[in-house]
Protein backbone atom coordinates (compact mmCIF):
# COMPACT_ATOMS: atom_id res chain seq x y z
CA UNK A 1 0.00 0.00 0.00
CA UNK A 2 1.50 3.33 -1.06
CA UNK A 3 1.28 5.94 1.68
CA UNK A 4 2.32 9.56 1.46
CA UNK A 5 5.60 10.10 3.30
CA UNK A 6 4.97 11.03 6.95
CA UNK A 7 6.01 14.56 7.90
CA UNK A 8 8.16 14.93 11.01
CA UNK A 9 5.42 16.37 13.24
CA UNK A 10 3.27 13.23 12.94
CA UNK A 11 3.70 9.85 14.66
CA UNK A 12 2.42 7.84 11.71
CA UNK A 13 0.50 7.98 8.43
CA UNK A 14 -2.87 7.45 10.16
CA UNK A 15 -2.34 10.47 12.40
CA UNK A 16 -1.24 12.58 9.43
CA UNK A 17 -4.34 11.53 7.51
CA UNK A 18 -6.56 12.38 10.47
CA UNK A 19 -5.02 15.86 10.76
CA UNK A 20 -5.72 16.51 7.05
CA UNK A 21 -9.31 15.25 7.43
CA UNK A 22 -9.88 17.46 10.49
CA UNK A 23 -8.62 20.56 8.69
CA UNK A 24 -10.83 19.90 5.69
CA UNK A 25 -13.90 19.31 7.87
CA UNK A 26 -13.31 22.62 9.66
CA UNK A 27 -13.37 24.35 6.27
CA UNK A 28 -16.45 22.36 5.24
CA UNK A 29 -18.25 23.42 8.46
CA UNK A 30 -17.87 27.05 7.31
CA UNK A 31 -19.22 25.99 3.91
CA UNK A 32 -22.22 24.24 5.55
CA UNK A 33 -23.09 27.53 7.26
CA UNK A 34 -22.41 29.55 4.08
CA UNK A 35 -24.91 27.56 2.00
CA UNK A 36 -27.06 26.92 5.10
CA UNK A 37 -27.65 30.65 5.57
CA UNK A 38 -28.95 30.91 2.00
CA UNK A 39 -31.13 27.82 2.45
CA UNK A 40 -32.54 29.24 5.71
CA UNK A 41 -33.36 32.51 3.92
CA UNK A 42 -34.99 30.59 1.09
CA UNK A 43 -37.11 28.50 3.51
CA UNK A 44 -38.30 31.61 5.38
CA UNK A 45 -39.49 33.19 2.10
CA UNK A 46 -41.03 29.89 1.08
CA UNK A 47 -43.05 29.89 4.34
CA UNK A 48 -44.04 33.54 3.81
CA UNK A 49 -45.06 33.20 0.12
CA UNK A 50 -45.94 29.50 -0.34
CA UNK A 51 -48.22 29.89 -3.39
CA UNK A 52 -45.96 32.11 -5.49
CA UNK A 53 -42.83 30.13 -4.59
CA UNK A 54 -44.63 26.91 -5.50
CA UNK A 55 -45.75 28.39 -8.84
CA UNK A 56 -42.28 29.83 -9.57
CA UNK A 57 -40.64 26.47 -8.88
CA UNK A 58 -42.87 24.91 -11.59
CA UNK A 59 -40.94 27.02 -14.14
CA UNK A 60 -37.75 25.06 -13.43
CA UNK A 61 -37.06 21.91 -15.46
CA UNK A 62 -37.12 19.10 -12.89
CA UNK A 63 -36.12 16.48 -15.50
CA UNK A 64 -32.91 18.35 -16.37
CA UNK A 65 -32.33 18.95 -12.65
CA UNK A 66 -32.81 15.22 -12.02
CA UNK A 67 -30.40 14.29 -14.83
CA UNK A 68 -27.88 16.68 -13.29
CA UNK A 69 -28.35 15.00 -9.91
CA UNK A 70 -27.53 11.64 -11.52
CA UNK A 71 -24.44 13.19 -13.18
CA UNK A 72 -23.21 14.66 -9.90
CA UNK A 73 -23.85 11.52 -7.82
CA UNK A 74 -22.00 9.48 -10.47
CA UNK A 75 -19.09 11.92 -10.31
CA UNK A 76 -18.99 11.34 -6.55
CA UNK A 77 -18.70 7.60 -7.14
CA UNK A 78 -15.81 8.08 -9.61
CA UNK A 79 -14.17 10.50 -7.15
CA UNK A 80 -14.44 7.88 -4.38
CA UNK A 81 -12.92 5.29 -6.78
CA UNK A 82 -10.08 7.71 -7.65
CA UNK A 83 -9.48 8.15 -3.93
CA UNK A 84 -9.29 4.38 -3.50
CA UNK A 85 -6.91 4.01 -6.46
CA UNK A 86 -4.61 6.68 -4.98
CA UNK A 87 -4.63 4.91 -1.62
CA UNK A 88 -3.72 1.59 -3.27
CA UNK A 89 -1.00 3.26 -5.38
CA UNK A 90 -2.60 2.62 -8.81
CA UNK A 91 -1.75 5.73 -10.89
CA UNK A 92 -3.45 4.58 -14.13
CA UNK A 93 -6.73 3.80 -12.38
CA UNK A 94 -6.41 7.05 -10.42
CA UNK A 95 -6.07 9.12 -13.63
CA UNK A 96 -8.98 7.29 -15.29
CA UNK A 97 -11.39 7.98 -12.42
CA UNK A 98 -10.10 11.49 -11.81
CA UNK A 99 -10.59 12.27 -15.51
CA UNK A 100 -14.13 10.84 -15.45
CA UNK A 101 -14.94 12.93 -12.37
CA UNK A 102 -13.78 16.13 -14.10
CA UNK A 103 -15.70 15.29 -17.28
CA UNK A 104 -18.91 14.61 -15.31
CA UNK A 105 -18.38 17.95 -13.54
CA UNK A 106 -18.19 19.64 -16.96
CA UNK A 107 -21.34 17.80 -18.13
CA UNK A 108 -23.16 19.14 -15.06
CA UNK A 109 -22.00 22.68 -15.89
CA UNK A 110 -23.14 22.28 -19.51
CA UNK A 111 -26.66 21.20 -18.48
CA UNK A 112 -26.78 23.97 -15.86
CA UNK A 113 -25.84 26.62 -18.46
CA UNK A 114 -28.52 25.27 -20.80
CA UNK A 115 -31.10 25.61 -17.98
CA UNK A 116 -29.96 29.16 -17.16
CA UNK A 117 -30.19 30.03 -20.84
CA UNK A 118 -33.77 28.69 -20.97
CA UNK A 119 -34.72 30.83 -17.98
CA UNK A 120 -33.03 33.83 -19.59
CA UNK A 121 -35.09 33.34 -22.77
CA UNK A 122 -38.29 33.01 -20.67
CA UNK A 123 -37.44 36.39 -19.04
CA UNK A 124 -37.17 34.90 -15.56
CA UNK A 125 -33.79 36.46 -14.72
CA UNK A 126 -34.33 39.31 -12.23
CA UNK A 127 -31.92 42.01 -13.44
CA UNK A 128 -32.44 45.76 -13.41
CA UNK A 129 -31.66 46.03 -17.10
CA UNK A 130 -34.00 43.23 -18.21
CA UNK A 131 -37.79 42.89 -18.01
CA UNK A 132 -38.89 40.19 -15.55
CA UNK A 133 -42.08 38.54 -16.79
CA UNK A 134 -44.17 36.41 -14.44
CA UNK A 135 -47.93 36.50 -14.93
CA UNK A 136 -49.25 34.30 -12.09
CA UNK A 137 -49.71 35.36 -8.45
CA UNK A 138 -47.27 38.02 -7.20
CA UNK A 139 -44.42 38.77 -9.64
CA UNK A 140 -42.43 40.60 -6.92
CA UNK A 141 -42.41 37.45 -4.79
CA UNK A 142 -41.47 35.33 -7.81
CA UNK A 143 -38.58 37.75 -8.38
CA UNK A 144 -37.34 36.87 -4.89
CA UNK A 145 -37.60 33.16 -5.75
CA UNK A 146 -35.47 33.62 -8.87
CA UNK A 147 -32.99 35.85 -7.04
CA UNK A 148 -32.46 33.07 -4.51
CA UNK A 149 -32.44 30.39 -7.22
CA UNK A 150 -29.74 32.11 -9.29
CA UNK A 151 -27.66 32.96 -6.21
CA UNK A 152 -27.77 29.43 -4.81
CA UNK A 153 -27.24 27.54 -8.08
CA UNK A 154 -24.64 30.14 -9.14
CA UNK A 155 -22.60 29.75 -5.97
CA UNK A 156 -22.93 25.98 -6.22
CA UNK A 157 -21.68 26.09 -9.83
CA UNK A 158 -18.76 28.31 -8.75
CA UNK A 159 -17.80 25.69 -6.16
CA UNK A 160 -18.02 22.99 -8.81
CA UNK A 161 -15.81 24.97 -11.22
CA UNK A 162 -13.19 25.34 -8.46
CA UNK A 163 -13.42 21.57 -7.91
CA UNK A 164 -12.92 20.91 -11.64
CA UNK A 165 -9.87 23.23 -11.59
CA UNK A 166 -8.34 21.36 -8.65
CA UNK A 167 -8.95 18.02 -10.39
CA UNK A 168 -7.25 19.32 -13.55
CA UNK A 169 -4.20 20.35 -11.49
CA UNK A 170 -4.09 16.95 -9.75
CA UNK A 171 -4.27 15.19 -13.13
CA UNK A 172 -1.28 17.18 -14.38
CA UNK A 173 0.67 16.42 -11.18
CA UNK A 174 -0.18 12.76 -11.49
CA UNK A 175 1.11 12.71 -15.11
CA UNK A 176 4.28 14.64 -14.36
CA UNK A 177 5.58 13.02 -11.22
CA UNK A 178 5.57 9.77 -9.38
CA UNK A 179 4.78 11.55 -6.11
CA UNK A 180 2.14 10.03 -3.85
CA UNK A 181 -0.97 12.13 -4.18
CA UNK A 182 -3.21 10.10 -1.87
CA UNK A 183 -3.50 12.88 0.76
CA UNK A 184 -4.33 15.54 -1.87
CA UNK A 185 -6.84 13.26 -3.61
CA UNK A 186 -8.52 12.36 -0.32
CA UNK A 187 -8.91 16.02 0.70
CA UNK A 188 -10.15 17.02 -2.77
CA UNK A 189 -12.62 14.14 -2.54
CA UNK A 190 -14.05 15.54 0.71
CA UNK A 191 -14.59 18.90 -1.04
CA UNK A 192 -16.11 17.27 -4.14
CA UNK A 193 -18.55 15.15 -2.12
CA UNK A 194 -19.54 18.20 -0.08
CA UNK A 195 -20.46 20.10 -3.27
CA UNK A 196 -22.54 17.04 -4.17
CA UNK A 197 -24.31 17.19 -0.75
CA UNK A 198 -25.20 20.86 -1.37
CA UNK A 199 -26.88 19.88 -4.65
CA UNK A 200 -28.69 16.99 -2.90
CA UNK A 201 -30.50 19.68 -0.85
CA UNK A 202 -30.84 22.36 -3.57
CA UNK A 203 -32.52 19.98 -6.04
CA UNK A 204 -35.58 19.03 -3.91
CA UNK A 205 -36.12 22.45 -2.29
CA UNK A 206 -35.84 24.41 -5.56
CA UNK A 207 -37.23 21.99 -8.17
CA UNK A 208 -39.45 19.42 -6.48
CA UNK A 209 -41.45 20.84 -3.58
CA UNK A 210 -44.64 22.40 -4.96
Amino acid sequence: MAESPVAMQFDDAAQQRQAADLGMWVFLATEVLFFGGLIAGYLVYRVLYPDTFGAASQHLDKILGGVNTVVLLTSSLTMALADQAAEHGQPRRLRLHLGLTGILGLVFMGIKFYEWHKEWVEKLVPLRTEPFIFTEHHPEHAEMFFNLYFTMTGLHALHLLIGIGIIAVLLVWSWRSKAHLSAQIRTTGLYWHFVDVVWVFLYPILYLIK
Binding site: D21, A29, V32, L73, S76, L77, L81, V200, P204, L208
Partner: protein
Amino acid sequence: MAETITHRSLVLTYFALMVLLAITVGSSYLNLGVFNILLNVGIAVAKTVLIMAFFMHLKASGALVRIFAAVGFFWLMLLLVLSLSDYLTRG
Protein backbone atom coordinates in the same frame (compact mmCIF):
# COMPACT_ATOMS: atom_id res chain seq x y z
CA MET B 1 -9.51 3.40 12.50
CA ALA B 2 -7.44 1.22 10.16
CA GLU B 3 -10.64 -0.09 8.57
CA THR B 4 -11.21 1.27 5.07
CA ILE B 5 -14.30 1.45 2.88
CA THR B 6 -14.43 -1.43 0.37
CA HIS B 7 -15.00 -1.10 -3.37
CA ARG B 8 -18.24 -3.07 -2.95
CA SER B 9 -19.69 -0.69 -0.37
CA LEU B 10 -18.87 2.35 -2.58
CA VAL B 11 -20.82 0.81 -5.48
CA LEU B 12 -23.71 -0.21 -3.17
CA THR B 13 -23.82 3.35 -1.78
CA TYR B 14 -24.11 4.64 -5.34
CA PHE B 15 -27.06 2.35 -6.14
CA ALA B 16 -28.78 3.29 -2.85
CA LEU B 17 -28.38 6.98 -3.80
CA MET B 18 -29.95 6.30 -7.22
CA VAL B 19 -32.94 4.51 -5.63
CA LEU B 20 -33.45 7.40 -3.20
CA LEU B 21 -33.26 9.90 -6.08
CA ALA B 22 -35.87 7.92 -8.03
CA ILE B 23 -38.21 7.97 -5.00
CA THR B 24 -37.76 11.75 -4.56
CA VAL B 25 -38.45 12.50 -8.23
CA GLY B 26 -41.38 10.05 -8.29
CA SER B 27 -42.95 11.60 -5.18
CA SER B 28 -43.00 15.02 -6.88
CA TYR B 29 -45.64 13.64 -9.31
CA LEU B 30 -47.94 12.66 -6.40
CA ASN B 31 -49.89 15.07 -4.26
CA LEU B 32 -49.14 14.01 -0.70
CA GLY B 33 -49.67 17.40 0.95
CA VAL B 34 -47.21 18.07 3.74
CA PHE B 35 -45.69 14.60 3.26
CA ASN B 36 -44.11 15.75 -0.03
CA ILE B 37 -41.94 18.14 1.96
CA LEU B 38 -41.18 15.65 4.75
CA LEU B 39 -40.33 12.90 2.25
CA ASN B 40 -38.06 15.16 0.16
CA VAL B 41 -36.18 16.51 3.15
CA GLY B 42 -35.97 13.05 4.74
CA ILE B 43 -34.49 11.59 1.55
CA ALA B 44 -32.00 14.47 1.22
CA VAL B 45 -30.84 13.80 4.79
CA ALA B 46 -30.59 10.05 4.09
CA LYS B 47 -28.50 10.70 0.93
CA THR B 48 -26.23 13.04 2.89
CA VAL B 49 -25.71 10.42 5.60
CA LEU B 50 -24.78 7.82 2.93
CA ILE B 51 -22.38 10.20 1.14
CA MET B 52 -20.72 11.26 4.40
CA ALA B 53 -20.47 7.73 5.84
CA PHE B 54 -19.04 6.00 2.75
CA PHE B 55 -17.72 8.51 0.18
CA MET B 56 -16.36 10.86 2.84
CA HIS B 57 -14.92 8.00 4.96
CA LEU B 58 -16.75 8.87 8.19
CA LYS B 59 -17.70 5.22 8.72
CA ALA B 60 -13.99 4.39 8.90
CA SER B 61 -12.96 7.55 10.80
CA GLY B 62 -12.43 8.10 14.50
CA ALA B 63 -14.76 9.96 16.85
CA LEU B 64 -12.81 13.24 16.60
CA VAL B 65 -13.24 13.52 12.81
CA ARG B 66 -16.94 12.59 13.14
CA ILE B 67 -17.49 15.34 15.72
CA PHE B 68 -15.78 17.89 13.45
CA ALA B 69 -18.02 16.75 10.59
CA ALA B 70 -21.16 17.06 12.73
CA VAL B 71 -20.65 20.51 14.29
CA GLY B 72 -21.39 22.52 11.12
CA PHE B 73 -24.67 20.66 10.67
CA PHE B 74 -25.49 21.08 14.39
CA TRP B 75 -25.11 24.87 14.12
CA LEU B 76 -27.16 24.85 10.93
CA MET B 77 -29.93 22.97 12.80
CA LEU B 78 -30.01 25.76 15.41
CA LEU B 79 -30.31 28.35 12.64
CA LEU B 80 -33.09 26.49 10.80
CA VAL B 81 -35.12 25.30 13.82
CA LEU B 82 -35.07 28.62 15.67
CA SER B 83 -35.83 30.70 12.54
CA LEU B 84 -38.63 28.47 11.30
CA SER B 85 -40.18 28.01 14.75
CA ASP B 86 -40.82 31.77 14.56
CA TYR B 87 -42.08 32.03 10.96
CA LEU B 88 -44.13 28.83 11.05
CA THR B 89 -46.04 29.88 14.21
CA ARG B 90 -46.98 33.45 13.22
CA GLY B 91 -50.70 34.08 13.08
